[in-house]
């Protein structure tokens, strides 16, 4: 296996609320290499965004990363001093957020918001920074970037704003970009354009990309590998083709099944019964067992990640076999 850009080992992020401890991220491990795209899939509240924030060192109190290692180029980010970590953020790791209407500061001009991102990490003149900002806007396909630089965010459409956010993420040529559902709030056509460009940018520049989403169809066309998260844990991991064609975990199977497809038109839509459990003081055992048709007494124990097929991992006592999927 090649040297990974980012390697996360046994990450745990807990929230210490007045009502109890919320284990938002529990024993999460994965790695992503240069130019590769990792899809992090799960429902809202599954801990996928919090995994992203944990890597960035942006978990707010009462939350805290309590255990694990976050290795960027072999160096554990958790051991860095706050100011060293600040120099990593936006420089070696960049993040893009879900709602482009909210991520750009409404009262600051786009050039201000781009220049400050450059000058926070490099001692460059305003003019040089401005030039880099303009190039970055051009690279993400914003027409007449010179004029757009002096505009305010509300003068852009949603798709254009997300392109600006992506341009800001690219400014310092990071090794890793964490994209937290960046296309969810956009129209389908614009979503397609942005997906295409992100994929191209990652491949060309050798940037590693973690794409966080709840939308399996986005991941299908974009990612190389996929991690499925449920209740703060990774329940399945493998290449995109393997996981989507032949899921091992009942939850992954349920997720894929609940996507409406043309092949099953007319049949009632399938759904996963029940609701995601509250992460507050979650009881031990498989968190999915209450919604799982295959659950039995064994599931009251915590299942470990196992590798029934080479190159794949699943956290289940009763993984699906190939015949069960069909």
């Amino acid at each position: 296996m090649t040297e990974s850009t980012l390697r996360v080992e046994n990450l745990r992020t807990h929230f210490f609320t007045r009502q109890g401890v919320v284990k938002a991220v529990e024993d999460v491990s994965f790695s992503v290499g240069a130019g590769r795209i990792l899809g992090l899939v799960g429902e809202s509240g599954s801990g996928k965004s919090m995994t992203g924030y944990s890597i960035m060192g942006l978990v707010d109190p009462p939350g805290r990363v309590v255990a694990g290692r976050i290795l960027l180029g072999g160096k554990d980010l958790r051991t860095l001093a706050p100011d060293e970590m600040r120099k990593v953020r936006g420089n070696r790791i960049a993040m893009i957020f879900q709602d482009p209407m909210m991520t750009l500061n409404p009262v600051l001009r786009v050039d201000t918001q781009m220049i400050e991102a450059i000058q926070a990490h490099a001692d460059v003149s305003r003019a040089a920074a401005l030039e880099r900002a303009r190039d970055a806007l051009a690279r993400v396909g914003i027409p007449s970037p010179q004029e757009r630089l002096s505009a305010y965010p509300h003068q852009f459409s949603g798709g254009m704003r997300q392109r600006v956010a992506i341009a800001i993420a690219l400014l310092n040529k990071p090794d890793l970009i964490i994209a937290d559902e960046p296309t969810t709030a956009l129209d389908v056509t614009i979503q397609g354009q942005i997906l295409f460009e992100m994929q191209k940018l990652a491949r060309e520049s050798g940037t590693a990309l973690i794409w966080i989403t709840h939308d399996l169809s986005v991941i299908a066309g974009l990612a190389d590998e996929i991690c499925v998260m449920y209740a703060g844990r990774i329940v399945e991991h493998g290449s995109v083709d393997q996981v989507l064609d032949a899921p091992l975990h009942p939850y992954t199977h349920g997720l894929i099944d609940s996507v409406p497809s043309r092949g099953r038109r007319g049949e009632p839509l399938r759904q996963i019964p029940g609701m995601t459990p509250s992460l507050l003081d979650l009881a031990p055992g498989c968190a999915f067992r209450d919604r799982c048709a295959r659950a039995d007494g064994a599931c009251a124990e915590d299942p470990a990640l196992s590798s029934p097929v080479a190159g794949r991992q699943v956290r289940c006592f009763h993984p699906l076999t190939q015949s069960a999927v069909a």
């Binding site: 942006l58 600040r86 936006g90 993040m95 709602d99 991520t103 009262v107």
Partner: protein, 344 residues
């Protein structure tokens, strides 16, 4: 085909252009209405409830003087004509002479105005320059003990009556400690022909206690606004994105947070300036500050009625002007207001 957002931009642009003058004209008309209404109220108060002869004519005047004044004021005419005469004279700047000072009431009030404005500006300045940093602190660290202390202080600042705090300030700093004067304005220096206190050290010493007293309520208000705005802003994605860009926390707070909360704060400061001038009545009375507020209370106590009438009309006009100015400035700051006003 043009992208869909062009249509929205386009219509917003035209709404803006068309709504500007309409908005200002509408506000101006409202202001004139309010002024008419208030002048009517003052008129009714003076002419219909009280006896205008008592109110407007010096009790020391002899019979011939009184009759001449009745004819001059048109008190023998029907009420609606009297109102018109009253309005005409008010517009001409003639609201009678002060009994106590024997100079035109309007002139008397205008002479006292700079003292009040200086006090109000000093208080507003104090409230802003202390309130915003304290509010930021309380907003950034709401659970720390300084954060809690600041909030408790601002709650007290809200519920304590201004005059009571003023008395305590005098008792502590003037009587017990003897650090600061509590009485009057001290020596004044001319600045562009206007007498001001803040240019001499002695003047500043006289200004400190009354300005602190007057500032306290607004200080509490600005602390609360800033704190609430900061806490709100910190939850926004743009703050998280700014941090994700690797900006220092100084820049995140000083630029990204502060710039966003300044719009409501500036508006409130403007809107509250009128109420600072109104509350100056109390502070000026306590600290014997020779402004319009002390003048009106003194005039009420010696029944110097032309001054009372003139003060009421001037303060109401001042208020309407301030409200109008703030409305216009606010509409310039925030396009959403203009658009909703144009529709509404």
């Amino acid at each position: 085909m043009a992208p869909p957002y062009m249509g929205i931009l386009h219509s917003a642009f035209w709404t803006l252009i068309f709504s500007m003058p309409v908005f200002i004209v509408r506000r101006l008309m409202q202001s004139v209405l309010v002024l008419c209404f208030m002048s009517l109220l003052v008129f009714v108060g003076v002419y219909a409830i009280g006896n205008p002869v008592d109110i407007l004519i010096n009790p020391q005047a002899d019979q011939a003087d009184i009759e001449r004044a009745i004819a001059a004021l048109g008190l023998d005419k029907p009420l609606w004509q009297q109102y018109l005469i009253f309005l005409k004279q008010a517009l001409a700047g003639d609201l009678g002479k002060s009994f106590a000072y024997n100079i035109p009431a309007i002139q008397l009030i205008l002479e006292r105005m700079p003292a009040t404005l200086e006090l109000a500006l000093a208080a507003t300045g104090m409230a802003v320059f202390l309130g915003i940093p304290l509010g930021l602190w309380a907003g950034l660290k709401p659970d720390s003990w300084p954060g809690k202390l600041i909030m408790t202080g601002s709650i007290l600042g809200f519920s304590l009556p201004t005059f009571w705090v003023g008395l305590m300030l005098i008792m502590l700093f003037a009587v017990e400690l003897g650090w600061l004067p509590s009485n009057g304005r001290g020596p004044t220096t001319e600045l562009l022909g206007i007498p001001v206190s803040f240019l001499s050290w002695e003047g500043v010493r006289h200004l400190i206690l009354p300005a602190t007293n007057l500032a306290l309520f607004k200080l509490s208000l600005i602390i609360r606004l800033t704190r609430a705005g900061t806490r709100e802003a910190l939850l926004q994605d743009y703050v998280k994105f700014a941090r994700a860009k690797g900006l220092s926390s100084t820049r995140v707070v000083g630029v990204h947070v502060l710039k966003n909360i300044m719009i409501p704060i500036v508006t409130v400061i403007g809107l509250e300036f009128g109420s600072v001038i109104a509350f100056a009545i109390v502070t000026e009375s306590i600290f014997a500050w020779p402004g319009m507020g002390k003048l009106i209370i003194d005039s009420i106590n010696v029944l110097d009625r032309p001054v009372i009438v003139a003060y009421l009309l001037i303060i109401v006009s001042l208020f309407i002007l301030i409200n109008l100015a703030v409305d216009i400035v606010y509409s310039l700051l925030d396009p959403r207001v203009r658009i909703s006003e144009a529709k509404g």
